[in-house]
Amino acid sequence: MTNRQKYIVDTTLRDGEQSPGIAFSVREKVTIAKALDALGVSRIEAGTPAMGREECRAFEKIKLACQKAQIIGWNRMNLSDISQSIGCGADIIHVCVPASDLLIREKLRTTRSQVLETLSACAAAIHDEKRELTIGLEDASRADWDFVVLLIETARDLGATTLRFSDTVGIMSPSLCKATISRIPDNIDIEVHMHNDLGMAVANSIQGLRSGAKYADSTLFGIGERAGNCNLEHLLIATQGQLDFGISLDELQWRQADLKSIIYKNKLAYA
């Protein structure tokens, strides 16, 4: 069993808000971020600054409102997005790198070598501004393992502090998750980002954490694309007495209840 002390990266304001029909105003984003900060969430992924001025304004206010949590700006792998994140004061600049050949070929319409080249340019721009870099491997669960290893080595060489392993379409089983995360060398902090398409995001996050990951991504009420992300409340229930995230389950439950009307403005969306 690895270290019991683990950390939560909350992505309610980024991946959670990408859930169809869920949308927050600047004020609502700040309210949610303040609650997460008070709870003891160590990192808050506050959104995608490249979305525009409104999102940047939310970032600036969140940065001022939060006292302990580090604020992450999520970026596609391009310099313009990264420049926006740096501009609005994010503590951590996260770069999302499509890792599977499916995404590289079909979505980016590029090649593995071009991905590596662009990633290097992005990392240089982030280091020039003396910001912390974290790298996410999108669709890592469907990627060729040799390329995943190359991306991990590249991330470490480029000075990334954390590597996010994403099961983007939520197809991993716990045993596969355990076997995969165990294979990642321990010279970089690992973060697991599990989707709930098969109803196993909590179990997979637990397996990732038990296999060496330091961070788990989660959202309030488990909101997110399709069937959602790892539900923070459920993760805390499942790991009570086993893993320590520095977050009280009772406090999470009452704060989450307070935020329910902001997250689900349309009551029909929640059942």
Partner: protein, 327 residues
């Protein structure tokens, strides 16, 4: 083949069920891959059986029973020259004895047909060792029905089957503490297709019928059966899905009787707008104004815009009129 037991009909009050709905519900469960359906004795006379319900009830002696399918001889189908077997139902008593005891005490268990319950914390323990101990016990029939109080029952159920377990008990949707049937079936289909023969395209119909029978709505985001799980809003995902749906879908929506839909909201981009309006010639500045209005309205309403609302908004922007959408 593994045995998939469905316990849904033991989890809610079935007194108001019509015979037709009950038979249809069972039919759909068998179609999607269930091997045995657990039922209470009260439901015997509601099923379409030629034998008298009274004698069947007597035979069951008040115990729950299993409904299973048997294949009869080939019958002539509609297509000339083709013959297909017809499935018939049969009853058998549920002889499984439920045990919620530590795995270490299993060997002292004198029953040969056992259903293990509990084990809800297995994901935070070395579950493969627990499964080994279970599989090495001298019990003839070992069914697992892990509790879902820690939101890991699907994972435990799937790992049990992948480890060599031969029988699992589940329940449809998530208004109980059994592993959600639809998640276990899809997990099995994706991980061990050789062990799975069901047709999951009936799951949407099963969900609708379940909601009608129980009066309990299934969450729109519920894994596998939620109505909204294939709605795509964010620009990044729409871009991927329009190029190749496989990029951001774990399986084809039609596999579960659903369909994908591009919807407009706060995270939509120009590409989604052009796709929805089907107006490739829309100017960049007009698209920008429409998108801005969409974002503002959706943030206010907390939902996506309908196609009708979108058309109204677009036409008003194009005619330079102020727009209003009411909740």
């Amino acid at each position: 083949m593994v045995t998939i037991i469905d316990r849904t009909l033991t989890t809610f009050n079935t007194s108001g069920l019509t015979d037709r709905d009950l038979n249809h519900f069972c039919d759909l469960l068998f179609t999607c891959g269930v091997t045995k359906i657990e039922l209470t004795p009260e439901l015997v006379d509601r099923l379409s059986f030629p034998a008298s319900a009274a004698s069947l009830k007597q035979w069951l002696e008040g115990r729950n029973f299993f409904l299973t399918q048997i294949l009869s001889g080939p019958l002539t189908s509609d297509r000339p020259g083709m013959k297909e077997p017809k499935a018939l139902w049969k009853l058998e008593p549920n002889e499984l004895v439920e045990k919620n005891i530590p795995v270490s005490k299993l060997n002292s268990c004198h029953h040969q047909k056992v259903r293990i319950t509990g084990l809800e914390d297995l994901m935070t323990r070395d579950y493969s060792e627990v499964f080994k101990a279970l599989l090495n016990s001298d019990i003839d029939t070992l069914d697992l029905c892990p509790g879902n109080q820690q939101h890991c029952a699907t994972a435990i159920a799937l790992e049990w089957l992948l480890a060599g377990g031969q029988s699992i008990s589940c329940g449809f949707a998530n208004h109980h503490h059994f592993p959600p049937l639809e998640e276990v079936l899809m997990g099995l289909k994706l991980n061990q297709p050789d062990l799975f023969t069901g047709d999951l395209s009936v799951l949407s119909e099963l969900r609708d019928l379940y909601e009608k029978l129980t009066g309990q709505p299934v969450g729109k985001m519920k894994a596998i059966i939620g109505t909204d799980i294939f709605k795509v809003e964010s620009g990044i995902h729409v871009d991927g899905v329009l190029k190749n749906p496989h990029t951001y879908e774990p399986f084809n929506p039609q596999t579960v009787g659903n369909q994908r839909e591009i919807v407009l909201g706060k995270h939509s981009g120009r590409q989604s707008l052009l796709y929805k309006l089907n107006e490739p010639e829309l100017s960049e500045s007009t698209a920008h104004i429409i998108l801005k209005q969409i974002k503002s309205r959706c943030t206010q309403l907390g939902r996506n815009l309908s196609d009708r609302e979108l058309r109204t908004l677009a036409s008003e922007v194009q005619n330079d009129k102020p727009t209003e959408i009411y909740c």
